[in-house]
């Protein structure tokens, strides 16, 4: 039997990066897509509990079924696996995201939340992002690399419960130097809101922000990407900082 790949994203069902990923996945597997109706960038791991979800069939052809859902990326994974996949997918892919999800961005990313949700549910969840925010981004540089990685992941299992955060530099295929397995760089977004005044004189605030590195570790994803490598960070959705447990015992008093 052919493998089954579930695909979602956070840029929405109409995004170019999603279509690129469909086409690559179809070379290996039957493909089911369940993606948000609209752009859900910055949705993080939000889920929809105050209203029910609706699903729209976009395409139903040989080997490829595409659905749009009015929920979040994490909703899409839960709903698709439970109600729209004939069996558990062999791989859950999220992307290809228009823009980076390296470092601290993984916190805010709907793309990575979908991959993490898949791994929490016992599947292999993989988020893939290109360092190019443009809606018309050129994905040609990353296609062969993504194809190779998907082939490897279908052939070899990765540790149970682990998701992968794959980021791809904005380079031609030949200029991508290779792949590095690495850890997330420490960083933060600062100077986040710009205050403006509307025509009635009332204030409003627009999200903006400056990406600020805390470390400069050459083995971090940020540094590997800057050096021209694809970065792959293994992700476990456990925020516990184990080294701090013993340092905080005084709070037990």
């Amino acid at each position: 039997m052919k493998p089954l790949i579930l695909i979602t994203n956070d840029d929405g069902v109409a995004a170019k990066g999603l279509r690129v990923l469909d086409e690559i996945a179809l070379k290996f597997a039957d493909v089911i897509v369940m993606a948000p109706e609209y752009n859900a960038s910055g949705a993080s791991h939000s889920i929809t509990s105050t209203r029910p979800l609706r699903v729209r069939e976009v395409k139903n052809s040989d080997g490829l079924k595409v659905y749009a859902c009015d929920g979040t990326p994490a909703d899409c994974v839960k709903l698709a696996v439970e109600h729209f996949c004939p069996r558990q997918p062999d791989l859950v892919l999220s992307g290809i995201n228009h823009g980076s999800n390296s470092s601290i961005n993984v916190l805010y990313s709907g793309t990575m939340a979908a991959a993490i949700e898949a791994s929490a549910l016992g599947m292999t969840g993989v988020g893939i992002s290109l360092l190019n925010h443009n809606p018309e981004a050129d994905f040609s540089g990353c296609v062969l690399h993504v194809e190779k990685i998907i082939g490897q992941l279908l052939a070899h299992p990765i540790p149970q419960g682990i998701a992968l955060n794959i980021n791809i530099p904005r380079l031609d295929a030949d200029n991508i130097k290779g792949i590095h397995i690495c850890h997330a760089a420490q960083a933060r977004w600062t100077d986040s809101f710009e205050r403006r005044t509307d025509p009635q004189g009332r204030p409003y605030w627009w999200l903006t922000g400056k990406f600020e590195r805390i470390d400069n570790d050459p083995e971090s994803d940020e540094n590997r990407l800057a050096d021209g490598y694809i970065s792959i960070v293994p992700i476990l959705p456990d925020f516990t900082h184990y080294p701090s447990i013993d340092k905080l015992r005084w709070l037990e008093q």
Copy 2:
């Protein structure tokens, strides 16, 4: 100078748990509250980038300023620290949440996202949750415990970049056995969507779900809570699973 405490939550500015926390914090500090206008449970670390934010002043009295914002809990922290706090808060508290944020729930929680955002910005971020979902929950059992913890946190610094995830069992104050610093239990939410049919015969799906433990570690937050203890999990917003890095080197080929 009095300390400054910033408070937010994900249940919204009108939630009872928020008022309880304000009152406790006022015993120690000047307090600024910036909370979502509406219930943002399940908002996770989502941020608002496709529209600007508005802010409504709810209360401005001696020592206590309360604002409502039409953004997410993470938005509230970023915006309040940058534009509404006269100086960097000494402590950022989020809650008291109506319902548990133990274990995997931290992924979905807007309450914990706010605490994590504060720690990413270099402050001490603390999420506090009571294991009682009821909007009219009785917080009397936890008030003295929360007061004691806030006093300790103002007196002693915790490791830089670490947030705390505090969960409190639904017990009378005298029946709470103490505090344990511990790690998050491994768990997942399964059987997530219930399919229904609307009066026009069209399907829709409601989020539901069953909490399913993966481990049964006596030192996990779930077990400590079941034993009658307050659980405190130190949190670092780095999802990297370091032990998996070397196990995945084959992907570099």
